[in-house]
Symmetry: C2
């Protein structure tokens, strides 16, 4: 299979590329792989097919056409300006998160009627805004409270219409917050959810900026890669016109995260978490979804972790170097 | 008040202009009125303020900037490529229904922080697609089955985000099917809902292409103008980020339409309806919404008719020339 990953330099893109090299898609090996991002993605280990790694400006005219001219059969579109930056830079957010996605879809359409690739698009639970019901179902409306969520919701609508028209065969995945995110702590408002596990597991301190009764919606990086693989291989017929799926996840509180950490790494690890309330971060995360009923995705075979013990075990297994580094 | 109506040459735009000239907005008279459309709109009778009637190409660069340069305090954006044409001409539908709306919003934003007009946008129940619940509530998701519905849903999302950012003060109204639509029968799939009343009331035959048990969602032209006036004058604070409102209407079957016709104009009028099943029209209208719970709009003071007798009475009152014309 010929595969294109846009946004391949990110954490999820790199893990996805490794998984596709190892397992193929739906049992078929990947023979040609194009990895594109604003910086050239690293080549995945062990790939023996045709590889291209491209540093591209997605907003530049001609980029989308160049990316699809070899007619990849499966396209993963993971590239995005993240929530905070899309809020800070209105025009840049729309240019990348909406216009570049539309340019990609139009470039596919311009290839003509013989070409209808599977297109897997990473959307977000940020398409939903308060007020929420206690459990968000599959027919709850998108009323985002951010430009990022707006751009994701608009792109989902485009993806549905282009799919209905037969220009492409799209699936949009509204991913839970990915936890435990590997690597260094970052400044995203959601960063602490990972920091308070990853850092103590490695013997380092972490800051908790919110109340520990806060509930949110999580899946591991491994589960997220599994969602992408499933979306690439699934039968899209049952989706009909609505190609956007709320992905399964784990609804858990910060306190439940901490209890799982205590079970795995003891009180010594928990003592590395320092509570420093940050009203700015609290104000953001208090408006985030807490729980979904993902019946539709479940019926289609998507699965996530059942508790935080599993999420920690996945992290320790997949990021073998996360432990034991000097503090 | 300085008012701009885009799409002023249409049936609703002309009735709205007449209402604004007669009643002002929220008790304040209209002092300057710009009427724009692809053909120059007719001047409303009795207007003594500053009037401009403009024939413009909304998709042309610079049109939006020219329309807002005099900083109208209230803008009604009614212009659209209708559903059938947006389905037949993919690019034209997106150019007018999405891109021209976005260009309008951006032209408003480009006027700078001192300018934040009320913008009333006519959306549509076409943002909803089957499968529906029996009654569609205010939090049901937009999953359109047409490019027209997609473009309306995307523009609603933009309107919400531009409102949240303070660039404009938007309200999007998802209008019911307007009935009885005055004038000559048209080829819209929804045309028969009006034809089977308007034509027999005027002594002329009409064709019914669907089963008479079909249920749909209606409001009169007078009610629709009332929605627009209310949206222009209302306090938008309670809307928060979700500026799109399902408008109230009457849920009624074709048989109920016909019974009301019988009560008003007798069996002679009903006998002018000829049943000619049209599977193509039936296939379209069977996917349309049948009933809404419009609690949110109701709480905000929006009102429609309670039965088809009222809708017929409004028609006979507002379109005095609809009766007695030669067949």
């Amino acid at each position: 299979m010929r595969v294109l990953i846009i946004g391949a330099a990110g954490m999820l893109g790199a893990k996805l590329a490794a998984a596709l090299v190892a397992r193929g898609i739906g049992g078929r090996p990947v023979t040609a792989l194009t990895l594109a991002d604003v910086v050239a993605p690293r080549a995945p280990a062990g790939f023996v097919g045709a590889l291209r790694t491209l540093a591209v400006d997605l907003a530049a005219p001609g980029t989308a056409a160049a990316l699809v001219e070899r007619r990849p059969e499966v396209i993963f579109h993971l590239a995005a300006i993240v929530s905070g930056e899309a809020e800070a830079d209105f025009d840049k957010g729309y240019a990348i998160n909406l216009d570049a996605s539309r340019a990609l879809f139009d470039a596919i359409r311009a290839q003509g009627p013989g070409y209808c690739p599977r297109l897997v698009f990473t959307s977000s639970t940020a398409v939903f805004g308060t007020p929420f019901p206690a459990v968000i179902g599959d027919e709850f409306h998108a009323a985002p409270r951010s430009s990022y969520g707006t751009q994701k919701a608009m792109t989902e609508l485009l993806l549905n219409d282009y799919s209905r028209r037969g220009f492409l065969d799209g699936v949009a995945l509204r991913l839970p917050t990915i936890c435990i995110r590997p690597g260094a702590p970052n400044r995203a408002a959601s960063g602490f959810f990972s920091n308070i596990l990853r850092e103590p597991l490695a013997g380092r301190p972490a800051i908790l900026p919110v109340r520990d009764s806060l509930r949110h919606w999580f899946a591991s990086p491994r589960a997220a890669v599994g969602f992408l693989e499933r979306a690439a291989a699934m039968d899209t017929g049952p989706l009909q016109v609505d190609r956007a799926l709320n992905m399964p996840g784990l609804s858990a509180t910060v306190a439940e995260e901490i209890e799982a950490l205590r079970r795995v790494a003891g009180q010594t690890a928990v003592d590395l978490i320092r509570v420093e309330p940050d009203p700015a971060i609290a104000a953001i995360v208090e408006t985030w979804p807490q729980r979904f009923d993902t019946a539709r995705a479940h019926a289609l075979g998507f699965r996530a972790e059942a508790d935080f013990d599993q999420i920690i075990a996945v992290h320790l297994s997949d990021e073998a170097d996360a432990r034991g580094r000097p503090a």
